[in-house]
Symmetry: C2
């Protein structure tokens, strides 16, 4: 059954956290990989501006120009682990165009330029693999693409950014610490960047969700069409009200498909405590997939970190070494991709959590109820507190309603003189 031991020669571009971990996994565990695959995977060339203290590069060719790796005729597979799109895009283009397989952990590159790169791989009869680009060490792309290959997938919902999940988990804890305070802690711990925008505003999650959507539904990558909302507006008050109602607030990427189109959205979401996703805390990631045959399956693990991400890179390298080349880059053959409209957020239905502050409670309840009912929005739960104060918070969970109807109702409600301050609304899973 085992193929004869063949050689797969790897070139690594970059030597940061993920690349150095990958280098060490591939070199230290070469015998393990050979015993599980019958393939001799050898790193022959590393391109990096500077050495890494954790990596012994004495038995490998080292270049300071990463393009030397791509141009090395002895390299069969190029690992693009430098991140960003410049010069990663040029590097990957050149690798594919010259007949080398590519493995990358670069979510921005795939989400924004994947369509072009998949075509280029097809044309040149090579593979481009990117398991490490989504949810780090969790083999979720393999699970969707191969494990659920016979399933019609209807939804993928996931916690796919560890930074935001850490911040929300900490805000949930005792102490009532707000977003800014917890963000500062996350930065100290190395869980958030000095400029945290990419994570906390949801851009990183949007890149990953774009990729998941393509793999799950066979639709083109449409990063520019995704609806993205970050967590900087989530307050401890909302977390506490959600708790009372039996929910946790999680930052989710949600993509769903029905006959009309595809939902593609990243935003804070109330998740019922009974859902396993609600129990995923700290920096961990988890992706819940809903499909017709397997039902709900979930994949959980570390979404970042050198070793976890390196584990995913190694699995892609081994798949290529095993010559599993019959799997199309997007999980679907190029001619089998479906172009479906990406739904506008205004056209998507979900239940909503609403919080507003009101004076003159009897009056506000009457007007609230009448406005909501005019838009066919019914109330599933309601929390009122501090009933004797002048201004009271009113918290409502509605039934499923189209976002455009909710927008219209909220516009009317915000004009009521009894409603003071803004209205917070968070979608419910």
């Amino acid at each position: 059954m085992m193929a004869d031991v063949s050689q797969c020669r790897v070139g690594i571009c970059g030597l940061g956290t993920v690349a150095s971990a990958t280098y060490n996994l591939l070199t230290r565990y070469a015998p393990l990989i050979q015993s599980r695959t019958g393939t001799d995977v050898t790193v022959v060339h590393v391109g990096c501006r500077r050495d890494h203290p954790d990596c012994d590069l004495s038995n490998v060719r080292v270049s300071r120009d990463i393009f030397d790796v791509v141009r090395d005729p002895e390299v069969d597979v190029v690992l693009e682990l430098i991140g960003g799109t410049d010069p990663a895009l040029a590097l990957v283009r050149e690798a594919l165009a010259t007949g080398k397989h590519v493995v990358t952990a670069n979510k921005a590159l795939i989400a924004e330029f994947g369509a072009e790169l998949f075509d280029l791989a097809d044309t040149n009869n090579v593979s481009i693999r990117y398991e490490a680009a989504v949810a780090g060490g969790i083999p979720v792309i393999k699970a969707i693409r191969e494990g659920l290959v016979g399933n019609e997938i209807s939804r993928v919902a996931g916690i796919i950014n560890g930074t935001t999940n850490f911040i929300l988990s900490e805000m949930e804890g005792v102490g009532n610490r707000g977003f800014d305070e917890v963000l500062a802690e996350a930065q100290e711990l190395g869980y958030a960047e000095a400029d945290p925008t990419f994570d906390v505003e949801g851009i990183d999650a949007a890149h990953k969700l774009t990729i998941l959507s393509t793999i799950a539904f066979g639709v083109p990558l449409e990063f520019e069409a995704i609806y993205t909302e970050g967590i900087s507006q989530v307050t401890v008050a909302d977390i506490r009200f959600a708790e009372q109602l039996g929910y946790k607030i999680k930052h989710l990427g949600i993509t769903a498909r029905d006959g009309e189109g595809v939902e593609l959205r990243v935003h804070p979401t109330l998740v019922p405590n009974s859902a396993l996703l609600a129990q995923v805390s700290g920096v961990m990631n988890a992706v819940m997939v809903t499909s017709n045959a397997a039902g709900e399956t979930m994949y959980y693990g570390a979404g970042a970190g050198g070793d976890a991400t390196g584990s995913a890179v190694v699995s892609d390298v081994v798949d290529i070494a095993r010559d599993h080349l019959g799997i199309p880059s997007a999980g679907y053959g190029a001619s089998d991709m479906t172009t479906l409209p990406i739904k506008l957020i205004e056209d998507i239905e979900s239940p909503f959590y609403l919080r507003l502050t009101a004076r003159d409670k009897p009056g506000v309840m009457a007007s609230l109820t009448s406005i909501l009912s005019r838009y066919n929005i019914s109330i599933e739960s309601l929390v009122q507190r501090d009933a004797n104060a002048d201004e009271v918070p009113v918290v409502i969970i509605t039934n499923r309603v189209r976002e455009s109807a909710m927008n219209a109702a909220l516009a009317e409600i915000s004009e009521q003189s009894s409603v003071t301050g803004g209205i917070t609304r968070i979608r419910v899973l």
Copy 2:
């Protein structure tokens, strides 16, 4: 990148719940499978004693003798979905010996006869695949074998039997219903067989754990060496005490590997509430894998049911159709399997939950403490209740201790005149 459309001709043996679901998935979703794989997977022959009301067999050859399917020269892949070992073993032997690939959902067959069948597949240059044999629709074998291929796995712990998880989840609920009452309910709902022994005594979980151990560690299948304890002795009292201490009682399969050998054990286990495994309830399954690079990853989903199991069968068929034949049957090449001793349960260390009933509390606490300390067993937590009653329950969670030391200590404790009745002990994860 896509291979040309090639044909993969499938023969199905059996037409029960799993087989009929598989038949329908393969026939109804053939276009989806082709779009994701470039392969035309066609069911050409079904062997079954009787038709199934859900299956339209009008376009397929049907035989009443399942061996006709194996002997059909047009069949490339045989799906063994009849269960049990007689005649499944003879059927699979003949299929492999005559050069046909085999996909099976039969955990007993693989756990007990896998070694022979893997050899036979190797010799005849064909594949035998069994994703559906473990945890139903969850692609956990693929995840371990391919997704974590570059990882040294140290432990696999899972809820791999839905019947026992359902019973324990129900016993946890309000109403303080005991094992017998909940078992009867599970039988009514179709979650437990009329003769539930196979599930509730842990044999089904033992079959699955044997397979997971081989896939994870590259050790031979050793079903006869597994330590197995069921859930029929678990009481509501234990579940309530565990709750107070911050644990849930789950029926786990645990296999771990260190330098000395392999742990292979199925038994009720206290799982800390903070572990995601503790949150997996009802008939759902989940497998937590601990490995050096990816860290902790978990795979969750439906462990049984026709469609979920069929989903796993289809994924194996597609892998074979894609010609992914470089993957050895056991996940490791035959010459790379490691023979490691399976540890005796007496040599395995874990923390223990102990519950006993005592008279004369001051006396019993003194003698308990002194006996435990003589065996170097320290107490992590202790719960006492009904302090004024004649007989009081004493509940202890110990530190990590070797099972043989615990056995010796418990033998001494049970001889104390102040200890009335038996001593319950449950291992802690």
